[in-house]
């Protein structure tokens, strides 16, 4: 929790010594283990049994939580409000989807061993070049990191170099994801157009429709979230993280002191995009489809409100926010679908007006007065109004 006291330690081990990280990891891994245990051992009719459907649902939430952590890293600690992180999430998802498409092989409706069904349907003669290699798992998983990473690098390089910040950056990130959405809707792109990629069968040789594979994906999502959280913690706790907070609060001053602000911004932005890509890649096999709607600006901005609800610049707040909002969404859309957008809209308004520090801020205010350092970090972010 206290970042200044253990500043001498290596950036790798420091996160493990922080109280908040220890608690977070314990709760997360404990919950994952418990759900796994209940799913495997309890009989189906027991009250304690967790159905595979619920497991997959929770796996989905964990992916969203990882995405929220990625957004919090850039918004909370770098002051960049990205309204386009859904694009990185979706790119990671598409990379995974392409791998899963190739795994179908000749078991598709048209039985073509090379081409996915939608390409046969659209009379494509051969696989486009950018689909090469996606039949190999290692290549696909590498692309899960590289596709969003390279896009974030190019975009960030151009934007940060010319010092596009604040609202302008938010708006062009939104334009980016909007442009990508339009592009992926086109059949000519070779990503399945409107329908996206679906009808997956195997992942790494396991049948996706079996309970075992679903449980495995859930556990993988939990581990990915834990690792992602640790990476973010490591960055935030390092000197780099402190400079990035300085960029957030006073970009010009940090530059004048002599730091290469744009490099720090670029590094953190690319890492965040890769985390979002991983989240997308784990999300796709669990929901069984990836289509261009994941690129929609609404989704990206929804992610931001998860973070805002949970509390910015805390990382664990992002996880809490993502879980609460998505659970609420599942409940609402099941009970009264019309009310969901009202609730979500109200959430946007109420959180920003009445709860600027989010739930994490509430918790901090309730439980302790002494941990002044951590609070001041969250506090300055609000005061700076970034």
């Amino acid at each position: 929790m206290t970042q200044s006291t253990n500043y001498g330690q290596s950036w790798l081990t420091r996160p493990f010594t922080e109280r908040s990280t220890q608690i977070f990891l314990a709760v997360l891994l404990g919950a994952v283990a418990l759900v796994t245990f209940l799913n495997l051992t309890m009989p189906e009719d027991s009250a304690l049994h967790v159905s595979t459907y619920t497991v997959t649902l929770m796996g989905k939430y964990l992916c969203y939580a990882l995405l929220a952590v990625a957004v919090d890293l850039v918004w909370g600690y770098l002051g960049i409000l990205s309204l386009g992180h859904g694009a990185f999430f979706a790119l990671g998802g598409y990379a995974m989807g392409m791998y899963l498409m190739r795994q179908i092989g000749d078991r598709g409706v048209y039985g073509n061993p090379e081409l996915p069904d939608f390409m046969v349907f659209l009379n494509w003669q051969e696989l486009p070049w950018y689909w090469y290699g996606f039949d190999m798992a290692w290549f696909a998983f590498l692309m899960v990191l590289l596709a969003p990473g390279i896009l974030a690098f190019i975009f960030g390089y151009l934007a940060f170099r010319s010092r596009v910040t604040g609202v302008y950056l938010s708006i062009i990130t939104q334009a980016l994801t909007f442009a990508l959405m339009l592009a992926f809707f086109r059949n000519e792109m070779g990503f399945g157009g409107n329908n996206g990629l679906t009808d997956f069968m195997d992942i790494l040789g396991f049948d996706l429709r079996t309970d075992g594979a679903r449980l495995g994906l859930f556990v993988a999502s939990g581990i990915a979230l834990a690792i992602g959280y640790l990476i973010c913690r490591a960055i935030v706790g390092s000197k780099l993280g402190r400079v990035s907070v300085a960029c957030r609060d006073a970009e010009a001053r940090t530059r004048f002191i002599g730091y290469r602000v744009e490099r720090i911004q670029l590094f953190v932005f690319v890492v965040s995009a890769m985390l979002a890509g991983v989240a997308g890649a784990l999300y796709v096999p669990q929901v069984g489809i990836i289509n261009p709607s994941e690129f929609s600006p609404l989704f990206s901005i929804e992610v931001v409100v998860w973070v805002a609800l949970g509390g910015r610049a805390t990382l664990y707040g992002a996880v809490i926010g993502a879980l609460i909002v998505n659970y609420a969404k599942t409940v609402f859309t099941g009970v009264m679908p019309d009310a969901w957008l009202f609730a979500l809209g109200a959430l946007f308004v109420l959180v920003t007006v009445f709860l600027p520090k989010g739930i994490a801020g509430l918790l901090a205010g309730l439980t302790q007065k002494k941990a002044s350092t951590d609070k001041s970090v969250a506090g300055t972010a609000q005061e700076a109004g970034v």
């Binding site: 151009l158 604040g166 708006i171 909007f178 809209g345 920003t352 609000q382």
Partner: protein, 533 residues
Amino acid sequence: MSIIRSLRLLLTACLLALMALPAQADDAQAKSLLKQLADAPNAKKGAVISDIASSGDERARQWLEAFADGKLAQNEETGDFVIVLENRGRNWTVADALSGEEIGEVSRRDLDSIRVNNALRRELDGILSVIDLTVQDPEKRLTAARELRGSVDETLIERITALMEAEANSDVKAALTEAIAIYKVDALGDLDAVAQLSGSLNIDARAALTNAARSDNAELAAAAQTALDQIEQKLKLNNAAKTLYFGISLGSVLVLAAIGLAITFGVMGVINMAHGELIMLGAYTTWGMQQLLPGQPGLALILSIPAGFMVAALAGVAIERTVIQHLKGRPLETLLATFGISLILQQLVRTVISPLNRTVVTPEWMSGSIMINEALSLTLNRLYIIGFALVVFAGLMLIMRKTRLGLEVRAVTQNRAMARSMGIKATRVDIMTFALGSGVAGLAGVALSQITNVGPNLGQNYIIDSFMVVVFGGVGNLWGTLVAGLSLGTINQLLEPWAGAVLAKILVLVFIILFIQKRPRGLFPQKGRAAEG
């Protein structure tokens, strides 16, 4: 019956008709003509037909068509002339030949059909195909003459040549000349006619020339090719004009959608993501007005202009008072909160009105198009919207430059503390400015209701575009918004032919993203202290 004779009759008849233009053929005259037709022996009927055709009576076509079908009859008892509509059974349904109204059933026995024979039919066919060229209304003659192009054949050519020579209206005469020239090029390979056709945009003229260009006659082929090249040039010019028109039209839509945002975002610095929904409210106001005033879409549309402004302005004030004023100086939080408001407004419309698109009627005076020439016609509704956008823009410029409110707005945005100490009520100015920007969004909605679907997603489709236009043009600069909107619209239209609509839009977005990297403050950046604020 010889062609020469009928032609002479027709010619004299036409001349007579043209000279007697003002004299409207009355019913008495019509009746006497029909009586002549009924009474005349078959050999003389041809002359009467010509008289009828050249009488200039609008109903002549009807009578002659009925006569050709054997359906023109005289009621033996009353002596009235009727057109048989239904001739099955014992009683026939008939219409009065003079008034055209259906008068019910009459016994078959009471009707005396006027007999027709094959020779008469042939003559009728010829007359009927050019009868529209002899009506009094020059507009109708023009339409008929234009339709003739490409369908002239040797049976008609003499009649038409005669009519062309007798024609007084220059437009009709030109169209007829063209029709004759097309026939001459096609059938005779006439070199003079080729020259006449050069520069014509008519599709049949082009087809005739293309055929001629392929002919064995080298001289003719070369002449036709030259003419075709000229036409090609002219077409290119027209297409460029068309693209420009569509570009400006799209651009003016963008300007309309963005200009309100240029006030709230550009001048006040408030990120209003609910701007699109304010546009939507304006569009729904138009729809509501038309529901209130059924059958008067035009009046409703005009009333919607102030109503749409008021509705959106009031909604804007409500948003400003309840949310935005609490988030002063925190632009990113404002963005999120107003986004929430946009979701609520969308869902409100879905729940209260309908998730489906509503139909807004386009009033008659706004539909249709102005035809500049055959390759270029400008749709009227878009023309109105271009004009409306310019009027709204000029109005806003006036308010910002010439009124007390504009002065206060500029003072408050440049230096709030200083303005307040000079006695300006900054809070009031905030409300007024936001109301103005929102109201203009409502106006945009009224205009957009005429060209796009009015539905809950209307606003979403324009919000990103609007922000792009404002950012591209330079925040805080109304001229920048105008230039940016028009140029983005034109660029989009220029790209569309070879890239397709979606790709063109993507390319424009990418272009703006790259442009902002180069010039983060847009086309026309603000200078001086206000820029740093």
